[in-house]
Amino acid sequence: MNKEQAEKLYMERCKLFRDTIAFKKPARIPYYANIWTWRWTDAGYTVSEVCHDYDKVKIAMDLFFSKYKVDAVIDSGVRNPFPLVNTLGDSWYDNLGKESFNCGDKYCFDAEDLDAMKENIVKALWEIGQFKKFPNAKNYTPEQYAKAAKSLQELFEVRDWLVKDLARGKYGCYCGWSPNVVGFEVMYLFFRGIKGVSLDLRRDPQKLKEVCLAIDEIVLNPVIKRLRALPRGYDMEKPYDEFSLMLGHTVLSEKQFGEIYWPAFKRYIDTFAETGKQLFVFSEGNWIRFADFFDEVPRGVVALHVELDDIYEVRKRNKTITLSGGLQNSVMSRGTPQECVEMAKRAIDTLGQDGGFILSENKMCSYPMDAKPENVKAVAEFASNYWL
């Protein structure tokens, strides 16, 4: 495939996403591979090797696209960039092994920091957060910071090469994710962690709410402002306009969700409806508990990844949101290629005949056992030839 052919294919693939999210019958249903570090071991590398070497990241990604005809892949390939993490000498990863690694919980703030966070979140990050996340930060030299900045720049360059030159330029494929999330997600993922927010929700819910609003001010509001400043309608060079995560809802009751999560998330989603744009929401856990809230979302604006719920039940419950999923990891990992193709066909036939569906693995494929290579190949081949 030459560059022109790759670009043509890329634009066609973006249109598949745009049409299906808009509930317009697409030419075929796109396969959005939920495949992450699985690529590394599939390329014959150990996790340890790839984590420390961007050249191997590039080779593994190239090999993946050459072997599997996916339309898009969620991960851009630079997750867990150890060269950057190690620059300051404060890595908290351990058990770095052949197929996996782990890292202990390490968050930026404790409960007693909530007042400072509420007051000025940026100041709190510089004066408190960075020292809790990076215990040696007080001793960093200007040279170390400069080295870290250089390493960050290098990471961006690698990411851009993977996204633009390799995925789009060579294979006509979309990859990459730069999530914009609500304040509660930031607290849940980075600042306080699962246990921290759970305790805050009971011990000081009002303060937690105020901190989430302060985070929205610097994280979400600029995105909303930017979206409103853009011309109305889609950017056809992307499969959707923005990517968001919905993970923190997994610890919340519906009541808590309605109080602390939904107001900001609704404001964010409303912006897409107002500006004629589309949002992809990568959601984990069960979503159907919160279906009532999403009844307000207009048709054709949001695509939602479905992890643990039965996607067919979700479809029955909600008719306005495009659903992404349908490939059960338990079948991708243990089934035959024929069984996987049948699973994909059933999903497309049942959920995608008039758009509103994206084919994807329900769980992130991270480890070798998460999917058999022949199954990924069979599903990709099938999806790329199954015209509606």
Binding site: N95, E99, S100, N102, C103, G104, I194, K195, V197, S198, L199, L201, R202, R203, T250, V251, L252, S253, E254, Q256, G285, R289, L308, Q328, N329, S330, S333, R334, K363, M364, C365, S366, Y367, M369, D370
Partner: protein
């Protein structure tokens, strides 16, 4: 004198400071009522489980309940040493399997199992099959709860069950698996006895085996 109903209600309503105040009173009195306090906490945790099932509480509330329960046991600890009264359902083992460091789900289930009357041996996280087999053999454990969060852990669960089989112990031990990657299909192919996503369901299954 301890008001058991008051303590159970405080635990069930997740009134953290009230629970600690009542327990500290028990210890100020010499801890003679520590076991009665444990029974009341158990009733309170039972209410927490019921509210979870009704959808009034969710995961964050269970994490909070687990935190209160852990602190409560630590307040009563000195007085509970040597106590053998109350509802004892026997020893069982819980851990997160090899390759997985996630412990929040495990800790919630553990807190509720302790409250339900099990003596829970918690091996922690990232536990090798050989270590599980060794403890099961040494303590003659009959119930094992294996926790997981990563899909990678399914393989470790399977390896643990194979190790139990290879050591001739599989028929004597009941294995419950829990966490995000497990479901009916996984339960079948790894050869576990039962699976659960909810803590309350986990407790019920273990109680039925005790």
């Amino acid at each position: 004198m301890l008001d058991q109903e008051k303590l159970a209600a405080a635990m069930g309503n997740l009134e953290e400071q009230e629970v600690y105040r009542l327990l500290n009173d028990v210890m100020t009195d010499g801890g003679k009522e520590a076991q009665l306090a444990m029974d009341a906490l158990r009733d309170g945790m039972d209410d927490v489980g019921k509210l979870f099932e009704k959808g009034e509480y969710f995961v964050s509330d269970l994490i909070f309940a687990g935190e209160i329960m852990t602190n409560a046991v630590s307040i009563l600890q000195d007085a509970l040493v040597g106590e053998n009264e109350g509802t004892k359902l026997g020893e069982m083992l819980i851990c997160t399997v090899e390759g997985d460091l996630h412990d929040i789900g495990k800790n919630i289930v553990k807190a509720m199992l302790v409250a339900a009357g099990f003596e829970v041996i918690d091996l922690g996280v990232d536990v090798r099959p050989a270590d599980i087999v060794e403890i099961v053999k040494e303590r003659n454990i009959k119930i094992i709860a294996l926790s997981s969060c990563l899909t990678l852990a399914v393989e470790s669960i399977e390896k643990t069950i194979i190790a139990l089989r290879e050591n001739g112990m599989r028929d004597d031990v009941k294995v419950l698996i829990g966490g995000n990657p497990v479901n009916e299909a996984v339960c079948k192919y790894v050869g576990a006895d039962a699976w659960a996503h909810s803590p309350q369901q986990s407790i019920r299954i273990c109680q039925s085996w005790a």
